[in-house]
Symmetry: D2
Subunit: 292 residues, 4 copies
């Protein structure tokens, strides 16, 4: 399994009674496929994976896999504090028919490299799906060095990809070097998309297609074709919005943008707030500037 291009991240829509809104969830998945995503990753940071109760997480995983129905590969996100819970979710995702897992260790007490290694190893040994390591220290509190990541790639058989969201391009350089170009890395920091692709990223993991349609896909095409001037133009056009959605927190800002586009994606789960009127207006303005 070798993924390329745009890996799209859906939100998890809630109804007014705070339960999962399944019909809108299906709309969200269709929207990402229409916008040209090469794969879809439900239950990521954007999908508020960490905020869902156990049954809710299972429901979203199952519904997403069934609804996508093999139109594109499905990567299920797992963000658990304990090894046992992570293993259980991995096995559930496999039983539902997921194509791959994206796994981020969450920390309360800081983890040593060896603790992280065994966390991934235990999950990998408990099922057979390929695993994408997900490094996002700002949300998870766990920062995995390129050295650790490549060591897990070399030593744990199902680990086959890494999503780097630290925003530090030097990490990608190091992964490229240490793995001699063998470990595909994906950019998870939206405002770094242009440079990550230029540095050799296999793809871009992003919630942006929810709001920007096929523009992220077009940026990739320009880079692939060596059309650097057009790539720059496309990137700088998207950049203010990319920065806005990251700074404001993806669940809040993506749900707000979807609301502006007429989808009933609901609010993020408390304590997270929904967008204020001021934020909605900023977002409207940013979207209208991109479309013109």
């Amino acid at each position: 399994m070798k993924l390329n291009g745009i890996i799209g991240y859906p939100v998890t829509p809630f109804s007014d009674d705070n339960t999962i809104n399944l019909p809108v969830l299906k709309q969200m998945l269709d929207l990402l496929i229409e916008n040209g995503c090469d794969a879809i990753a439900p239950l990521g940071s954007t999908g508020e994976s960490a905020y869902l109760e156990w049954d809710e997480w299972c429901l979203v995983a199952k519904t997403s896999i069934e609804s996508i129905n093999k139109r594109v590969p499905v990567i299920i996100g797992i963000s658990e504090l304990t090894t046992d819970q992570a293993i259980k979710k991995a096995q559930i995702a496999q039983s539902y028919g997921a194509d791959a897992l994206m796994v981020i260790p969450i920390s309360y007490w800081k983890l040593t490299d060896q603790e992280i290694f065994e966390y991934y190893q235990a999950i990998a040994q408990a099922m057979t799906l390929p695993i994408m390591i997900y490094n996002n220290p700002a949300t998870s509190g766990v920062d995995m060095s390129p050295e650790l990541i490549v060591s897990m790639f070399n030593n744990i058989v199902n680990i086959t990809m890494v999503k780097e969201s630290s925003g530090d391009i030097q990490r990608m350089h190091k992964i490229q070097e240490l793995s001699k170009g063998e470990l595909p890395f994906y950019n998870g920091c939206n405002p770094l998309a242009l440079e990550a692709l230029c540095a050799g990223a296999s793809g871009w993991c992003t919630a942006a297609p929810n709001l920007l349609g096929q523009q992220p896909q077009q940026l990739i095409e320009h880079v692939k074709n060596g059309e650097l001037e057009q790539a720059q133009k496309s990137f700088y056009q998207q950049l203010p919005l990319l920065r806005f959605i990251v700074t404001g927190g993806l669940p809040k800002t993506i749900k707000a943008g979807l609301q502006l586009k007429g989808f009933a994606a609901g609010s993020p789960r408390k304590p997270l707030f929904k967008a204020t009127d001021v934020e909605l207006n900023q977002l409207k303005q940013l979207l209208s500037e991109i479309e013109n």
Copy 2:
């Protein structure tokens, strides 16, 4: 309710089958009371609160309150990502007879001050116990400024105390100033114990009495009596061990020390490791140096 002195933190002991070891839990609580703790806080960071499943958390809370049986006040720790889960646990703790709650918001997406404020407010309005704000950015990923803390103290009626674990003494100064000395603050950073007490802390929240017996209590006494030279001597004697238990992670190091003292406290929950033989030997050495 105005607490003073040592607030002791028990571990949550696991049996070999990874279930809660209730008999040892009771031993742990008795040990802290024998060592002179003025209050006990089960289900804190030391107690691996964040790593327990729902039923386990309830079992530890209930058992602890019953076993302590009003010998000292009981402060139950709550560390939940969502507001709803935090509220449920707060109500459960009250129903079991807890004397107070220690609440730390956990983050995945960064929280704004207003989101944190409403998180605490929602919990406070759902029950009647006094709440100790717990600020520990290194574990929770949430950093609450003195300004925010004092604002919550001023505006939310059950908020009556704060445990500051950032390790920055200037935060304590600021809390003291902004609240005009009205908001009692407790030190949660072990290697800062001497200075926090000298700066006016009402108490010291610590797992150290598990391993150091009455020495933390004696440090408090020396400071209270203005015996600064003895306080320094006592502090510098305890300091290498205090640093060791913090650096290594409290669940691992305290459980290791308890094992050395003959208690079957078990290992921390995975992905956390238990102490290595090297670490056990270091700890043995540190403990023997203090006793001599």
Copy 3:
């Protein structure tokens, strides 16, 4: 030579034509002695040592030593980028009759521990005065660990003291432990004065006596006498001003305060600004609150 108590830092007053104002410099030194300083350190951070041309630095050193005239010990500050220039100034200060040197290495390219070690060693071998290591990473860009500091104390014969201005009380603990209490440490972070003294600091290096008269000295007395309640009261009274002078930059804020007190201390050297009217009013307010 074993210093204790308050080491006072004078400003370097400039006339309107940007030359050194020698008569006011002498007033400044008298003021610090009247306010009970146990030693005086001209040409420190407060004295804009790094901003002076070679001849100016020599003039201030010479004038200060002559004017103090052995009423208290004089510690001359040296902050040079190159080893050769630092050596020359050290020899000049000795030839003028200084009692000790306070030496801070300035960095452009980051220095390794070994480079710092040889920097101090070369200075120490070029003259015979005792040297106070001065660690202030925020201004100098050089951060010396307790391990390095104590190693220099153990291996370089004239190094006899350290001024720690990082603001991290744990550094002081570590210096105390590593040197087994043999290396006297002085607090150089004003808002840490209470805690540093409680932790065993030999003294407080400060420009505060310029504006606060004998209050810093009184804080030391209270701590020495184990009068912790009065020490806290004194410290919290001084704290808003201590924080203000540090945050605003000592040359600007101390010169502004001296102006309010009627001294013609002039402005700091450009690019540094003098205090704005708003800052002057804040300072006036802070000073009046302390005096009442």
Copy 4:
């Protein structure tokens, strides 16, 4: 004046008696021109500008300008703590026939944005050469935001370029956006060269041509031609060496590499060390890997 391409940075060679080695300095300048540099910047960070005495700085500036003799533009580096000294050097550089200045404010006391603005303004008003703002917080202790940089570009007439060495690609994005593409930015962080060029940098300020010949120039050509695959290949080939020279400090590592190539560039000025035998061997190895 609009520079493009490679701006090369010579070292300042010292003889064994620690004086400037003028014949080798001229060799250094010729080497950079032979290696295809589009402009040369003597007295930069690599040139140990901050470590030179006044007369030495003048000698290097004068000799370099005369020796380059208009073969390529000459940008003279100024790194002074006080405004007055910076003005004097700017005027001297102009009198010698420099084509432009690269100015970095050095800090001891942290500078406010307004202090930095007036620093640049005062220099700009004192002569007529174009100024390149140089932002390198790691060496200078001054961090200028994109907002401040673009504001100076908009309001100070001779400011026409910026060299960004913070290593943060997002700063370059912001400069591009805030100046609507009008302010040419140059990359000053060697391991960021590929991405900065892909993001629209006008050039690369680097000491690498001293050791890598025309390879930096070739990377620029590949990017300009949209040959991204070759650009990546070229960049990843140079990267281990680029990282090595930055991590070890440019004066030390570039002088070591020049020594390996047979030039008598001498050692950096103390307290800086020359390369150890271990470092020399690492460098030799890195250079041989690139050449094969």
